[in-house]
C-alpha cells in the first residue's frame, strides 16, 4: 500500500462528508461517523437541532466561497461522547448544495478536556488562595481598628457622660429664662437656644447609646406588650416632636400578627422612632407607611418584618452600602437633610442585629426608600 493510500484510509475514518440542499434534504453522505443516511426522506433541519438552529446562517452562506466553522461541538451519539469540528461550505460545482464536513477530533479534545478542567480548577484555587490571604490581612486590620475604635468609644462615652449634665442644666436655665424674657427678639433667640441644646442633648444620648452598644453593655428585656398601642404611641409622638411632620404616616399591621408580643418594647420603639423620624425628614410630599408583617412562625415563636416606606428623595445606589456606617449623612442642600447626628441608622442596625434580626434597605432616587428589619418575638 502506498503512503497516499494510508493517508486516504486514515482520513476517511476521521471525517464524514454530508451533502444537502438549502431545504435540508439529504443528497449524499459517506456515513462514516453519524448515520445520516437513515434520514434521507426527512429534512435534516428536523432531525439535528444543531442544523435547525443555524438554518438561516446556512442559507446566507456566501456563494463566492467562505465557510462556517464550528469548533468543539460536543455530541452524545450511540451512548458515546464525541467532539466534532463542523465545517459548512457551498459545493463549488453546484452552489445550491451545502457541504457539511464532520471531523472527529474526540481523542485530541479528550486530552484538551483534562487540560482545560485542570486550568479552570487551578484558577479557582488561585482565587481562593488570594481571598484567604486578603481575609487574613483584613482580619489584622479589623483587630487594629477595633482597638482604635474601642479607645475612641471609651473616650466619647466618658466625654458624653461628663457633658450631659451641663447641657441638661442649660436646658433648665433656658426653661426658666422664658419667664423673664418678654421681647420678640429675645424670645426668638431663646427658641434657637432651646432647639440647639435639644439637638445637642439628642446627640449626646445617641453617642452614649452607641458606646453602650459597642461595649455590649445592652440588655434586652422580655416582657409582654401591645404592638398596636406601641406603634400608635410612636406615630402620635411625631405630632409633638421638633421634627416637622409634612406628610401623613399610614400604619398597616397584618391581621395574623399577634396582638400581644413578648420582647423588648423600648428597643423596638427606639428602632421604629429612628426609622420613621428619618423617613419624615426626607419626605416632603406623598406619605410614610409602616407595615408589620409575619415573616415566619413556628409554634410560639414569631419573626416579624417591619417596613418603613417613604415617598421621599431616595438614596443613590452608591450610598446604600455605607448608609448604616456611623456619621454617614447624605449630601444635600436642604438644611433639614444635614441635621441629626448621623448615628440613628447605625444604632438601628446594631439594635436589630444584637437581637438576631436583619436590616435591609432599598431605594430609588426621587421615588423613595424602604427600610425593613426582622425581629424575633415570643407569643403566648
Amino acid at each position: 500500500m502506498l503512503a497516499n493510500d494510508y493517508k486516504i484510509k486514515f482520513l476517511s475514518q476521521k471525517a464524514q462528508i454530508v451533502l444537502f440542499n438549502e431545504k435540508g434534504r439529504l443528497l449524499e453522505t459517506c456515513n462514516t461517523l453519524i448515520d445520516v443516511q437513515s434520514y434521507k426522506d426527512r429534512s435534516l433541519y428536523d432531525v439535528f437541532a444543531f442544523l435547525e438552529s443555524i438554518q438561516s446562517s446556512l442559507i446566507e452562506l456566501g456563494k463566492e466561497g467562505g465557510e462556517l466553522y464550528f469548533p468543539r461541538v460536543e455530541v452524545l451519539y450511540n451512548q458515546k461522547e464525541w467532539v466534532f469540528d463542523f465545517i459548512f461550505k457551498r459545493q463549488v460545482e453546484d452552489l445550491s448544495t451545502i457541504v457539511w464536513i464532520i471531523q472527529d477530533l474526540t481523542s485530541q479534545y479528550k486530552y484538551l478536556y483534562h487540560v482545560q478542567k485542570e486550568r479552570n480548577e487551578s484558577i479557582i484555587q488561585q482565587e481562593l488562595l488570594e481571598h484567604k490571604q486578603k481575609s487574613v490581612l483584613l482580619q489584622k486590620e479589623i483587630e487594629y481598628l477595633n482597638k482604635f475604635y474601642q479607645l475612641k468609644i471609651n473616650y466619647f462615652s466618658k466625654f458624653s457622660h461628663d457633658i450631659k449634665i451641663p447641657v441638661r442644666e442649660i436646658n433648665g436655665i433656658t426653661y426658666f429664662l422664658k419667664k423673664h424674657i418678654n421681647t420678640e427678639e429675645g424670645k426668638e433667640y431663646l427658641a434657637s437656644l432651646e432647639t440647639t441644646t435639644t439637638n445637642l442633648h439628642k446627640m449626646i444620648v445617641n453617642l452614649l447609646e452607641l458606646a453602650n452598644l459597642s461595649q455590649n453593655k445592652l440588655f434586652f428585656d422580655k416582657k409582654e406588650f401591645l404592638l398596636k398601642e406601641l406603634v400608635n404611641n410612636i406615630v402620635n409622638s411625631f405630632k409633638y416632636s421638633t421634627t416637622k411632620q409634612q406628610v401623613p404616616i399610614h400604619i398597616h399591621i397584618d391581621p395574623d400578627v399577634p396582638i400581644y408580643l413578648h420582647g423588648d418594647d423600648v428597643r423596638l420603639s427606639q428602632i421604629l422612632y429612628n426609622l420613621l423620624s428619618n423617613a419624615l425628614k426626607f419626605t416632603t410630599v406623598g406619605m410614610v407607611k409602616l407595615n408589620v408583617i409575619t415573616e415566619k412562625q413556628e409554634e410560639n415563636n414569631w419573626i416579624l418584618r417591619f417596613e418603613v416606606i417613604d415617598t421621599g428623595k431616595g438614596i443613590p445606589k452608591k450610598s446604600l452600602s455605607s448608609i448604616f456606617t456611623p456619621y454617614h449623612k447624605l449630601n444635600g442642600n436642604n438644611v433639614q437633610e444635614t441635621s441629626g447626628t448621623g448615628l440613628g441608622l447605625t444604632i438601628v442596625k446594631e439594635l436589630v442585629e444584637s437581637q438576631g434580626g436583619i436590616v435591609k434597605v432599598s431605594s430609588e432616587v426621587d421615588k423613595g426608600s424602604t427600610f425593613s428589619f426582622t425581629l424575633p418575638f415570643a407569643c403566648a
Binding site: A49, E52, Y69, E74, V83, Q116
Partner: protein, 166 residues
C-alpha cells in the same frame, strides 16, 4: 397553536453553572460532578406561551474569562442570550458589563437575561452584600442545585423572544 424555533445561547465565565442550569431545565436534574464544557453542547426544550410553542435550541457555550474569546460562529443566528455568573465568585462578574456590551454589539436584537447563579451557597446577609457590589442588576438569582428560579429564567427569555418576533 403556532410553533417557532429559537436559538438561545448561555454565556458567561467558566464554572458558573451554565451546564447545570440547562440540565435542571431540560432534564430536571443537577449534575453533582463538575464537567468542563470544551466548546458547545446543544439541547432542546419546547415551552408553551401565549398560544405559541417555542422550541428553545439551547447552546451551552464553554466558559471563557472574556466573551471575546468565544468563537464568533457560536453567536450566529441567536435569538436570545442567558448570561450567567456565579454569585459566590467575584471574578465571574467583574467583567459582566463589558461582556454584556460585547454580546449586545454582536446580537443587537436579542434579549439578554442576566442570571446570578449558586444562590444556595450564600446566606441572606452575604447575598445582600454581593448584590451591592454587582456591576449590573441581574434579572434572576438562581440555584441550579435547588432548582430555584431556573424555569423562570427560560420562560422570561421565551416571552422576550416572542415579543421581539411579533
Amino acid at each position: 397553536m403556532r410553533s417557532i424555533s429559537k436559538k438561545v445561547i448561555l454565556a458567561g465565565s467558566f464554572c458558573v453553572g451554565k451546564t447545570s442550569l440547562i440540565s435542571r431545565f431540560v432534564y430536571s436534574r443537577f449534575p453533582f460532578n463538575y464537567q468542563t464544557t470544551l466548546g458547545v453542547r446543544i439541547d432542546k426544550k419546547a415551552v408553551e406561551l401565549e398560544n405559541t410553542s417555542i422550541n428553545m435550541i439551547i447552546w451551552d457555550i464553554g466558559g471563557e474569562q472574556s466573551q471575546a474569546r468565544v468563537p464568533e460562529s457560536y453567536y450566529l443566528g441567536s435569538s436570545g442570550v442567558i448570561y450567567v455568573f456565579d454569585l459566590s465568585r467575584p471574578s465571574s462578574f467583574y467583567n459582566m458589563a463589558a461582556d454584556i456590551e460585547f454580546i449586545r454589539q454582536k446580537l443587537p436584537k436579542a434579549p439578554i437575561v442576566i442570571v446570578g447563579n449558586k444562590m444556595d451557597l450564600l446566606d441572606e446577609r452575604t447575598l445582600e452584600e454581593v448584590k451591592s457590589i454587582l456591576p449590573l442588576e441581574p434579572d434572576f438569582y438562581t440555584s441550579a442545585k435547588a432548582g430555584a428560579n431556573v424555569e423562570n429564567v427560560f420562560l422570561k427569555l421565551a416571552q422576550a423572544m416572542i415579543n421581539v418576533s411579533k
